[in-house]
C-alpha cells in the first residue's frame, strides 16, 4: 500500500483573544498585558491515507476536522509536524473562492486553474469540458464578469474548475451540499467517477450518511485528538457514542443537518391547531438500556406522549410517525387505527407506544406526534414535528433501512 497523504505529528495552535489587536496603537497599548489564549486545534495527529482510498473525517464543530483538512491542503501550516502529499491536489473548501468578480468567467477559469496548479496549456485543453460541466447557463455567460453570475452559476463554475484538473487527491469540506439537487447529484457522480479512477478522496463532514456512502475508512476527531480510525460503521458508531458520552448528542437535532422535509403530509399551520388538547411532553425510552442514548437494531423502544386538556373530553386520537433524516415516513399509525382508544380524559393522560423491537438500521429518526378529534380527523388539537427522536446504531452486516430476518442458503 502506498500512501498518498501522510500526516506526521501535526499540531496546530491558534491564538485566540477576546479581541484582536491589529493596529499598532492597540498593540502598543496592550503590549505585554494581553496574553492571547492558546487553543490547540490539533494535538499531534498521525494519519496515513492510502492512494485511491476514500477517507472521511468526522467530528462535531470545533473538533479540528476542517483545520486538519486545511493543513493537508497547505492552506494552513501546522505549528509542528508535517503533512506530505503525493499527487495533484484539488481542494474544494469554498467553491469559486479564487474568483475575482471583475474578471469574466473565462478569465476566472484560467486564473483558478493556475491557482490549482495547472499550466496554461492544460487549462486551454480542458476549457470546453469545464464549461460543459458547469452547464448551459454558465456557457452562455462565459465572457461576462462573474459578478453578474447567480450564486448557483458561481458555485457550478467553481466546482467544474476544481474537478477538471483530474486531481489525484481531492479534499472536500462539506461543499457537496451546495447548489440545487440536480447539480449535487452531478457533483456526487463526478466524485464517484474520480473514485473509480483511483483518486484519493478526503471528505470532512458531520453527516454520517455521507461517510457511509462514499468512504472506505473514516476517522473521528474530538478537540484536536484523533479518537478512532476505522471502517465507516465503526467510526460512525464511535462518533455517535462519543457525542452522547460528552452530552452533545442528546437531541436528535444535533445530528440532523436540516430539519426533515415532509413529503406530502405537511404539518398543519399553527392557526389550525385548536390546542384543546396539548402535547405536554414526548419521552423516548430505551427499555433495558435506560442510560444509553441510542438503540441498537432490534432493541425495544417506548414513546410516551403526555397530554393535557383544558376540559374533560370523551377521547382523542393520538398519532405517531417515524421519519428518517430525509423526511421519508418510515412508520406511522394512530390509536384509533391500532384499536387502542384513549378513552375519556379529564385533565391529563399519557399514551405510550411500545415497540417490542425496532428493526431499523443505522440512522437518525425523528418523531412526529399528532393529536386529533376522534369524531373528525380534520379537527387538529395539537401537532408536533421532530421535537424529539432516536438514533439507531447497527451492528448488522447489512445495509439499507431495515434489518429483515434473513437466511441465505445454497441449493
Amino acid at each position: 500500500m502506498t500512501a498518498a497523504i501522510v500526516v506526521d505529528g501535526v499540531t496546530k495552535r491558534f491564538k485566540i483573544g477576546g479581541e484582536k489587536f491589529d493596529s499598532l496603537k492597540d498593540r502598543l497599548i496592550h503590549l505585554g498585558r494581553v496574553q492571547p489564549t492558546e487553543f490547540w486545534a490539533l494535538k499531534g495527529i498521525d494519519l496515513e491515507i492510502a492512494q485511491g482510498e476514500s477517507f472521511g473525517l468526522l467530528g462535531h464543530n470545533g473538533s479540528g476536522k476542517s483545520t486538519l483538512l486545511k493543513c493537508v491542503a497547505g492552506i494552513l501550516q501546522p505549528t509542528a509536524g508535517q503533512v506530505r502529499t503525493k499527487g495533484r491536489m484539488s481542494a474544494l473548501l469554498e467553491l469559486g473562492a479564487g474568483f475575482h468578480p471583475d474578471l469574466t468567467g473565462r478569465e476566472n477559469v484560467e486564473l483558478n486553474g493556475l491557482l490549482l496548479g495547472l499550466d496554461r496549456k492544460g487549462i486551454a485543453s480542458r476549457f470546453d469540458e469545464i464549461i460543459d460541466f458547469a452547464g448551459p447557463e454558465v456557457a452562455e455567460a462565459v465572457d461576462r464578469q462573474v459578478k453578474f453570475y447567480s450564486s448557483g452559476m458561481y458555485v457550478r463554475l467553481g466546482f467544474a474548475v476544481a474537478v477538471s484538473i483530474d486531481p489525484e487527491i481531492l479534499l472536500v469540506d462539506e461543499v457537496l451540499s451546495v447548489g440545487d439537487e440536480a447539480f449535487q447529484r452531478k457533483c456526487m457522480n463526478r466524485v464517484k467517477q474520480l473514485q473509480g479512477q483511483g483518486c484519493t478522496i478526503v471528505v470532512v463532514t458531520h453527516a454520517a450518511d455521507q461517510v457511509r456512502q462514499i468512504c472506505d475508512r473514516a476517522a473521528v476527531l474530538d478537540h484536536g485528538d484523533l479518537i478512532v480510525v476505522g471502517e465507516p460503521p465503526e467510526a460512525i458508531r464511535s462518533f455517535r457514542e462519543h457525542l452522547f458520552a460528552t452530552g452533545r448528542g442528546d437531541t436528535v437535532g444535533d445530528l440532523l443537518d436540516d430539519p426533515p422535509v415532509l413529503d406530502g403530509e405537511e404539518a398543519p399551520p399553527s392557526s389550525r391547531r385548536t390546542l384543546k388538547v396539548k402535547v405536554r411532553k414526548v419521552d423516548v425510552r430505551h427499555p433495558g438500556q435506560p442510560d444509553r442514548a441510542y438503540l441498537r437494531t432490534g432493541e425495544p423502544l417506548e414513546v410516551a406522549i403526555s397530554l393535557e386538556t383544558s376540559e374533560p373530553i370523551p377521547g382523542v386520537n393520538v398519532g405517531l410517525g417515524i421519519r428518517d433524516v430525509e423526511g421519508r415516513m418510515v412508520w406511522t399509525s394512530n390509536t384509533e387505527l391500532l384499536g387502542a382508544p384513549t378513552g375519556p380524559i379529564a385533565d391529563q393522560a399519557t399514551v405510550t407506544y411500545r415497540f417490542a423491537s425496532v428493526p431499523l438500521l443505522d440512522g437518525d429518526y425523528a418523531l412526529h406526534v399528532g393529536v386529533v378529534s376522534i369524531e373528525d380527523e380534520s379537527v387538529i388539537y395539537d401537532w408536533i414535528d421532530s421535537m424529539t427522536g432516536f438514533n439507531v446504531l447497527s451492528t448488522a452486516r447489512v445495509f439499507g433501512q431495515v434489518d429483515l430476518p434473513v437466511h441465505v442458503e445454497r441449493t
Binding site: 491558534f14 499598532l24 496603537k25 506530505r84 503525493k86 495533484r88 473548501l93 471583475d102 486564473l111
Partner: protein, 309 residues
C-alpha cells in the same frame, strides 16, 4: 510513520507532485515554489492591470498621464517659480520620477495585497509570495509605459544621452526590482499582523521621496553634508539614490551644466561608469540577501495568515 513512497522523494525538488506542508520550509524551496508558479504570477499581473483599468476609457493612458502631470507641476514650480536653473528640467525630473514611481507604487500596492486577497489566501493553497510579486510585476509594466514618456521626451528635445553609462541602466533596474521585491514580500506579510503599516508606509514614502535626489540634484546637498562633517557619500546610504544617480547620469547626460556661466552648476558626481557600478553591485548583493530574509520572514508569518484575516 513515513510511508516509503512519500517520505523518500519528499526532498526531491524534481518531483513537483510531492508536497510537504511544514512550518520549516526553507527559503530555497519557497523560491522554487514561486518559480513553479510563474505562470500564475503572470496571470496575476495581468489580472492586476485588467482590474485596475477595467471600466476606464483611457485605460493605460492613465499610467502615462500620472508622470506627465507630475512633470508639468514640478516644472512649473521648480523651473519657473523657484528658478532652480537646471536646463531641460523635465528630463532631469523624469529620470528620478521613473524610478521613484515604480518603487513607491510597488511598495504601497504590495503591502495591502495579502489583506486584499484574503478570500484567496484563506481558501486556496498556492505560494502566497506571488501576490506581492505580482504587484512588482504590475509595477514593471507601468514602468515600461512611463519609460515611453521618457523616450518621447528625449526625442522631442533631441537630448543627447551619455552612451558610456547606458550599460549601467539595466543593472540599476535589476537592483531596483530586487530591492522592491524584497520589501514588497516582507511588507505584505507584516501588514497582515499590523494593519497600520499601510498608513505608516505612506508617510515614510513621502519623507523618503524628499530624501532622494530626484527634484533637486545630488550635488546641491553634498556641500551641506561636508560642511556638517558628514562624509560625502551619506546620501548613498539611501538605497534608491544609486539607481536615481545612474539614470540621471545616463539619460540626462551632463554632470555639469551652464558651462558658459562664471559659476557652472554641478549636478552630479563625475564618477566613471565603473565607479558608479560599485554601489549598484553592493546593492544587488545586499538586496538578494534581503529578499532571502524577506522570504524567510514571510514563511514564518505565513503560518498564521489564515486565522489573522
Amino acid at each position: 510513520m513515513a510511508a516509503p513512497t512519500v517520505g523518500d522523494v519528499a526532498d526531491d525538488p524534481v518531483d513537483l507532485h510531492v508536497r510537504v506542508v511544514t512550518p520549516k520550509r526553507g527559503v530555497v524551496r519557497r523560491l522554487a515554489d514561486v518559480y513553479a508558479a510563474r505562470e500564475l504570477l503572470v496571470a496575476l499581473v495581468r489580472k492586476e492591470l485588467k482590474v485596475k483599468y477595467k471600466d476606464s476609457t483611457l485605460g493605460f493612458v492613465w499610467s502615462m498621464l500620472n508622470p506627465a502631470l507630475y512633470l508639468a507641476v514640478f516644472y512649473l514650480v521648480f523651473s519657473l517659480f523657484l528658478k532652480n536653473g537646471i536646463p531641460l528640467f523635465p528630463i532631469w525630473l523624469l529620470c528620478g520620477l521613473l524610478v521613484w514611481n515604480f518603487f513607491s507604487v510597488v511598495l504601497s500596492s504590495a503591502t495591502t495585497t495579502m489583506v486584499a486577497n484574503a478570500a484567496l489566501v484563506k481558501k486556496v493553497s498556492f505560494p502566497r509570495e506571488v501576490l506581492p510579486l505580482a504587484a512588482v510585476g504590475a509595477g514593471m509594466v507601468h514602468f515600461c509605459l512611463q519609460a515611453l514618456v521618457m523616450v518621447a521626451a528625449l526625442l522631442v528635445f533631441r537630448h543627447p544621452i551619455a552612451p558610456t553609462y547606458l550599460w549601467l541602466v539595466p543593472i540599476a533596474l535589476v537592483y531596483l526590482v530586487l530591492l522592491s521585491s524584497a520589501l514588497a514580500v516582507a511588507l505584505s506579510a507584516m501588514n497582515v499582523y499590523v494593519r497600520d503599516l499601510q498608513h505608516l508606509l505612506e508617510l515614510v514614502l513621502l519623507a523618503w521621496f524628499w530624501m532622494t535626489p530626484i527634484v533637486y540634484p545630488y550635488f546641491q546637498v553634498v556641500p551641506g553634508l561636508i560642511r556638517n562633517g558628514l562624509p560625502s557619500w551619506t546620501f548613498l546610504v539611501n538605497p534608491i539614490t544609486p539607481v536615481v544617480l545612474v539614470i540621471q547620469r545616463c539619460l540626462y547626460g551632463a554632470p555639469v551644466v551652464n558651462l558658459s556661466d562664471p559659476e557652472p552648476l554641478v549636478l552630479l558626481p563625475d564618477w566613471s561608469p565603473v565607479t558608479m557600478a560599485i554601489p549598484l553591485l553592493i546593492g544587488i548583493v545586499a538586496s538578494t540577501a534581503l529578499l532571502g530574509a524577506a522570504v524567510h520572514l514571510f514563511g514564518r508569518l505565513e503560518t498564521n495568515f489564515a486565522e489573522e484575516m
